[in-house]
């Protein structure tokens, strides 16, 4: 991005304008209100939910599942990815299997997980791990494979033992790709957790949103959507902030997203 970004007055005004339109439009058409409640109604429904702690409870549950699933997948994916990327022969064995499993949408694993693990936290975390693993694994493999051989050779001419080559050269050099995979995995994990909660859950934001829809509490439903979107947003910002600090050497090349 070029230089310092000016605060986007116009953009925020546009958003405000649309929100006003929504509010006024919803108020003016009472017939539509079950489907498109006014913002004030959404906020009104929000209040008690917040006070009673309902939403926070569901949020905490979803967040917990997300973190467990994501971190597990991240650890597994990075380790496995680096190993497979580095040891070409091992990779050649597994490569075809990976290529076979990749095209299958990871959500299709949910019924299998229900069979094996029933309905509950274990199932949700399992499917999250499975789905999140893929982008992390593949990007990690890709990242390691792309490392210029010359970098590794440089390490060897300096007499570095294999482990130090791994830490000092391979991981930093592959980190942009690994980070990309981790970032993609972030949104995938959230998608899977909410989906699993919708299909077979009794708690969590995904379940909450669906449940409120079934009970025709559209205002509460919208509230739930906003909460899960906010969750996604803050997780993303957190990730970007961590990435920015960790990748100091690439700072010039990173684009700071802000508006």
């Amino acid at each position: 991005m070029d230089g310092v970004k000016r605060f986007n007055w116009a953009g925020w005004l546009a958003l405000g304008f649309l929100l006003c339109l929504w509010e006024l439009g919803a108020r003016a058409t009472p017939r539509l209100q079950p489907y498109v409640p006014a913002i004030s109604q959404v906020l009104a429904a929000f209040g008690p939910l917040l006070r009673e702690g309902t939403i926070l409870k569901h949020l905490a549950i979803t967040l917990g599942r997300f973190l467990e699933g994501y971190l597990l997948a991240a650890g597994l994916g990075v380790v496995l990815g680096v190993v497979l990327g580095y040891f070409r022969t091992v990779h050649s064995f597994v490569e075809t299997l990976i290529e076979f499993l990749r095209p299958m949408p990871s959500v299709a694993i949910i019924p299998v997980a229900i069979l094996a693990l029933g309905i509950g936290d274990a199932m949700i975390i399992a499917v999250t791990v499975y789905a999140t693993l893929w982008p992390i694994l593949i990007n990690a493999i890709d990242g390691v494979r792309r490392i210029e051989k010359i970098l590794i050779d440089t390490g060897r001419t300096f007499g570095l033992p294999r482990r130090r080559i791994l830490w000092r050269i391979i991981l930093p050099a592959a980190s942009p790709y690994i980070v990309t995979g981790l970032r993609i995995g972030l949104s995938i994990a959230l998608i899977l957790v909410t989906t699993a909660e919708m299909i077979a859950g009794s708690k969590g934001l995904g379940f909450f949103i669906l449940d409120e829809e079934r009970s025709m509490n559209s205002a509460a439903m919208y509230g739930g959507i906003v909460v899960v979107a906010a969750l996604g947003y803050f997780l993303n910002r957190l990730f970007l902030a961590l990435e920015f600090r960790a990748m100091r050497w690439r700072r010039g090349m990173l684009v700071r997203e802000s508006f």
Binding site: E95, T96, L97, F100, P111, L115, L205, I225, G232
Partner: protein
């Protein structure tokens, strides 16, 4: 020296054989993990009976409508946002606010409006594909080298013509990247939306098979889905090669 693919092939054969053996010897619960032979048997049966193809057609119809509708709406939108800095800054905040909504969260919203009908799935797919398509089209236009636009001016090509003749072709590779990324998103969401709220489609089929404890059938459905995903990728690559023969050849060479 064995060729690479042979290793992979061998590995899969070994894996399949082990699975088959383990299932038959009841080392694993055959109700949970039926032998591959059984899965394939059911698979072919369902293909022959037309069941699986039918479910796939149903799903694909929804997917296609949502996907192409999103392309038709968001590619032009992205292009205009890319061309006009003013429009971009105006819409930027709204886009950034709407973007973090995880697509599954839209499903209950869509169900509110459309019930369990096709419209629900199309709605979800439409809005899920929106961001990759929009943002890639936008980026594609913004990264066009100014020299190309100057060239158009020095050749006295009108603004309207230059959008068609220069902006569009120059941004095409990036636009197609957005379309490519949206492909698995579409597939995932058609499956999810069918699992959450539907009475037909391949996603529903798989979940339903699980509910009825027709486990081999469930795996057969998953196999069908994997093959579908693979075929769609191949189809996309084919289309890419026809639309952008120059880019295809260029990137092939640099790999």
């Amino acid at each position: 020296m064995r060729p690479r693919w042979l290793n992979g092939f061998l590995f899969i054969c070994v894996l399949m054989a082990a699975w088959e053996f383990a299932a038959r010897a009841e080392w694993v619960n055959p109700l949970l993990v039926p032998p591959p032979s059984r899965v394939l048997e059911i698979f072919w049966g369902l293909i022959a009976a037309g069941q699986i193809p039918w479910q796939i057609v149903v799903s694909m119809k929804r997917a296609a409508i949502g996907y192409f509708l999103a392309a038709a709406v968001f590619i032009p939108l992205g292009i205009f946002m890319g061309l006009s800095e003013r429009i971009r800054r105006l819409t930027e905040v709204v886009v950034e606010v709407l973007r973090p909504v995880p697509p599954p969260a839209l499903i209950p919203l869509a169900m509110l409006f459309f019930g369990l009908e096709d419209g629900m799935k199309i709605f979800v797919i439409f809005f899920s594909c929106a961001w990759p398509i929009l943002l890639n089209a936008l980026d594609g236009v913004r990264q066009i080298d100014p020299v190309l636009l100057h060239t158009a001016r020095t050749f006295h090509v009108s603004r309207a013509k230059s959008i068609l003749q220069i902006v569009l072709p120059a941004a095409m590779p990036q636009i197609l990247t957005g379309l490519r990324v949206s492909l698995p998103i579409t597939l995932i969401l058609v499956v999810i939306s069918e699992m959450v709220g539907s009475t037909d489609g391949i996603g529903y089929f798989i979940l339903d098979s699980q509910r009825r404890f027709k486990v081999a059938q469930m795996y057969a459905g998953m196999l069908a889905l994997a093959i579908l995903g693979y075929l769609l990728n191949q189809l996309f690559d084919l289309a890419y090669r026809r639309l952008l023969p120059w880019h295809w050849a260029m990137t092939k060479r640099t790999e």
